[in-house]
């Protein structure tokens, strides 16, 4: 076990953890960020996507030691004072999820995309979400949600 410090959603955490623990487990089991889901735990499905220093990353494929000192954002970090972010609101209005299990990962990929590219075309959206698998097959609605989120963020 090793003391590791990292920032999650702006809050600094000091944890005594096996440094080879996957970040996904650290977030969900140790730190209580239950929004970070794991499905495959092998880097395929993207459900566990979080942002590490702003970038979309698969939290099951990062060891706790690798993210010591990093700034992590989980889906819980999207809202502001209890208000859903425009991305989350757009996903609700566009019915961009069914069972919702993949949604936190999709939202984090979307947030990273729209920070980097506020007005993505459909190909760019599809490329950004390629690593997020939805088994309810709701991709059309997800892409619509990202487009609507981009519009709302630009109108802000």
């Amino acid at each position: 076990m090793t003391d590791i410090s990292l920032t999650v959603n702006g809050i600094e955490h000091e944890v005594d953890v096996d440094p080879t623990t996957p970040l996904a487990d650290l977030l969900h089991d140790e730190l209580g960020y239950k929004g970070t889901k794991q499905s495959c735990s092998t880097g395929i499905c993207g459900a566990c996507t979080v942002r590490i220093d702003g970038q979309a990353r698969k939290s099951c494929l990062h060891m706790a030691g690798q993210v010591a000192g990093a700034e992590v954002q989980t889906v819980e970090g999207l809202e502001t004072d209890g208000e859903l972010s425009p991305i989350q609101a757009a996903f609700i209005d566009e019915f961009s999820f069914q069972c919702g299990f993949c949604t936190p990962g999709v939202l984090m990929s979307t947030a990273a995309l729209l920070d980097e590219n506020p007005d993505p075309d459909e190909d760019e959206i599809v490329d950004a979400l390629h690593g997020n698998i939805c088994r309810c097959t709701g991709y059309i609605a997800i892409v619509d949600g990202v487009k609507e989120a981009a519009r709302r963020l630009q109108d802000e």
Binding site: D18, Q55, C60, M63, Q66, A68, A128, H130, G131
Partner: protein
């Protein structure tokens, strides 16, 4: 994923070598995108992990005259989006953009691809055809390997000695009259390649002065299709010339059996992808004529 393994974060190459000399069986992790999968699947169970991912000196892309140097820790996403790569060796950025997905490209590294030597990886055929050098270091020396000359030595096996770490790759800048192409076939876009192909052609006036073709994904290592390439030298590079070269590639490149894909299909795709990669390479090499 790892049960109570010992973890070391190296802040410098010297630091990493210290850990490796004390723990020769330690597993080196850079981006960690392949290791995570291997551990989860129980294929690798490291007792000691050395994280070299924070050695900043190994990160970055620089041009030095006719050479593009890419640090070992440079991520695929950085290669994909680099304007310097786009200007100098655009085919490498094209290959980078077809690796896995954005999340993995944000973490996976050039050095990791070289050291891991996955036979289906997308960079190796490009590195081999453009004439790249893989740079490595041991505690005592700096070592260089020609990518096309045995660096990808076997099934998930590079030519690196046990005490060597990849520090970067250098690639010749593709000048006027040099064109390169890359093609990849996967069941789902950006998945592991069933077959991939890279090609470079060099022209002087109307004549082809040199050609190189490499095929990945079909055997233990990516391989150079030397017969196919040799037949193009002094040719006019007509579509028929390229088709004939692709046919030679199909004949000379051994395709290993794969339980998931028929041999016939992959053999046919070696030809098709070679022809397409050569066509792109030819069109780019002759674009200014």
């Amino acid at each position: 994923m790892l049960e109570e393994a010992e973890y070391h974060r190296a802040d410098s190459l010297a630091d990493a070598f210290d850990v490796l000399s004390e723990h020769p069986d330690a597993v080196v992790v850079a981006g960690g995108q392949s290791l995570g999968l291997l551990v989860k699947e129980g294929i690798v169970s490291p007792e000691v992990v050395v994280d070299i991912g924070h050695i900043d000196a190994l990160r970055g892309i620089e041009r030095d005259g006719d050479v593009l140097r890419i640090g070992a820790l440079t991520t695929h996403r950085t290669v994909e989006t680099s304007s310097l790569v786009a200007e100098t060796v655009p085919v490498l950025a094209e290959a980078a953009s077809q690796i896995a997905d954005v999340q993995i490209r944000n973490a996976g590294t050039m050095g990791g691809v070289c050291a891991y030597a996955d036979p289906t990886a997308d960079y190796p055929p490009v590195l081999m055809t453009v004439g790249a050098t893989v740079h490595a270091a041991s505690p005592d020396a700096e070592v260089e390997y020609a990518a096309a000359d045995g660096f990808f030595a076997g099934y998930y096996e590079s030519a690196l000695a046990d005490d060597e770490l990849v520090t970067g790759v250098s690639l010749p800048v593709l000048g006027e009259g040099v064109g390169a192409g890359f093609e990849k076939l996967a069941y789902r876009r950006n998945d592991r390649a069933l077959v991939n192909a890279a090609a470079v052609v060099e022209v002087d006036g109307d004549a082809c002065t040199a050609a190189r073709v490499a095929i990945g994904g079909v055997g233990d290592t990516p391989v150079m299709a030397t017969e196919a390439a040799a037949g193009l030298v002094d040719a006019d590079l007509t579509d028929a010339d390229l088709a004939a070269a692709a046919e030679r590639a199909r004949e000379e490149v051994p395709v290993f059996p794969d339980p998931l894909v028929s041999d016939e299909y992959r053999v046919a795709m070696v030809e098709t992808l070679t022809r397409r990669a050569l066509t792109t390479a030819r069109d780019r090499a002759t674009a200014d004529r």
